[in-house]
């Protein structure tokens, strides 16, 4: 075998071994690479509750209530299966609204309320002009109306 081929084999095997090792390591540490936990994970007790962690999901519809002091906000974070009530006082990001993805940082209290010290909005991968978004909303409203009032009524 020529030295050139030997080097090729060496680099090839080296890279393959490295890839395998990385895959195994990432697989083993998979739980620690998660940026946030979901309400379902909390419900199934797979999250260490005594320390600060990140809770992520969607802001549940009709769950946002503003406190009387003007800075405290109550809302629920849901993954559509389970929901966790959250209390937060501070400045919310611009994108914060019902139905929006959020990641909150804080601790779960004894009473099951998550006290957040930080709220981050999570953006999805959809980008469109306002007119297109309006058209989609319009179409959804039309559909909702036809479902509510079946033909002939």
């Amino acid at each position: 075998m020529k030295t050139r081929q030997k080097r090729l084999m060496l680099v090839g095997f080296g890279l393959a071994a490295l890839l395998a090792i990385t895959a195994l390591v990432l697989n083993a540490f998979s739980d620690n690479l998660v940026f946030f936990h979901t309400p379902s994970e909390i419900a199934s007790n797979s999250v260490p509750l005594e320390r600060t962690f990140r809770l992520g999901g969607l802001v549940e519809d009709n769950s946002v209530r503003r406190g009387e002091d003007g800075v405290t906000v109550h809302f629920k974070v849901t993954d559509t299966a389970k929901a966790v009530p959250v209390i937060y006082s501070g400045v919310l990001p611009n994108l914060f609204r019902e139905g929006q993805g959020v990641v909150t940082v804080g601790q779960l209290q004894e009473d099951g309320v998550f006290r957040a010290t930080q709220v981050m909005a999570r953006h999805d991968e959809e980008y469109m002009p306002p007119e297109a978004a309006e058209a989609i909303k319009q179409a959804q409203r039309e559909r909702a109306r036809t479902v509510e009032r079946p033909e002939g009524l």
Partner: protein, 250 residues
């Protein structure tokens, strides 16, 4: 067969590469300027604002192309480094070394523009999620490659050692790309992929592609220019260099 082979290796000879690159650079530079002008005009004036983010989303016309470039350039650098390591082709070593600074620049720009977008959108400049962290590691890989290259006096040993580093670092590229699919991250998933229709308005992704092409043209022009200087330095005692310099004198 033998004729095509000679053609193929023609430009691995430094003198031929030097001349070819000298002719190509102005063309790529011009294309890059035209495409950047087109892309920025479309992105900043023609494309509509986003329904949620308003105008702040427009940073994707820089952020997404430079982030793609950072990954492509790393893979390209590693391929050249690997060719140099295995087949001992000098020009491949020169190309790998010349790509590194441009790759580091694009990686830095991706992180920087991402932070500027993250503040108004997420509410934070930086989080340690898998996507952001792996992109930061990419920056360190580029910088580490350059530092290692510069730290070793002997040219051949410097090329070999840094080539191994570049090849090892390749593992990071699929991690960056798939991080948003494999784990929960704050960073959103890909809007434009090879397999699916883009989840954004046509004018938006077309503009991103134009900016991406502009970045490629810029990279090619700059990397070729850097490779030419590297060749001159390596071959400064060769007769062809003396001849070229003699003829370029006013």
């Amino acid at each position: 067969m033998s004729r095509t082979r000679i053609q193929w290796f023609h430009f691995t000879a430094p003198a031929n590469f030097y001349d070819l690159a000298g002719r190509l650079i102005p063309a790529f530079a011009l294309l890059s300027v035209i495409l950047f002008a087109m892309g920025l005009y479309l992105g900043l004036w023609v494309a509509p604002p986003d329904y949620q983010q308003g105008d702040s989303y427009r940073i994707i016309y820089i952020h997404v192309p430079v982030a793609w470039m950072s990954m492509f350039l790393y893979v390209l650098m590693a391929i050249y480094a690997g060719i140099g390591l295995i087949w001992r082709i000098k020009m491949a070593e020169v190309m790998a070394k010349s790509i590194a600074p441009t790759g580091a620049l694009f990686t830095f720009l991706a992180l920087w523009t991402g932070a500027l977008w993250g503040r108004p959108t997420w509410g934070v400049y930086w989080v340690w999620d898998a996507r952001l962290t792996s992109e930061l590691i990419l920056l360190f890989l580029f910088l580490g490659y350059m530092a290692l290259h510069a730290a070793i006096e002997d040219r051949q040993r410097a090329a070999n050692a840094s080539a191994v580093l570049a090849l090892v670092g390749v593992v990071n590229v699929p991690i960056i790309y798939f991080s948003v699919q494999w784990w929960n991250t704050l960073h959103q998933g890909a809007s434009i992929t090879v397999t699916q229709a883009p989840t954004m308005a046509t004018i938006m992704w077309v503009t991103i592609l134009i900016m991406f092409l502009a970045c490629w043209m810029y990279s090619i022009a700059v990397v070729l220019a850097r490779a030419r200087t590297e060749i001159l330095e390596r071959e400064r005692r060769a007769r062809w260099v003396q001849e070229r310099l003699e003829s370029e004198k006013p």
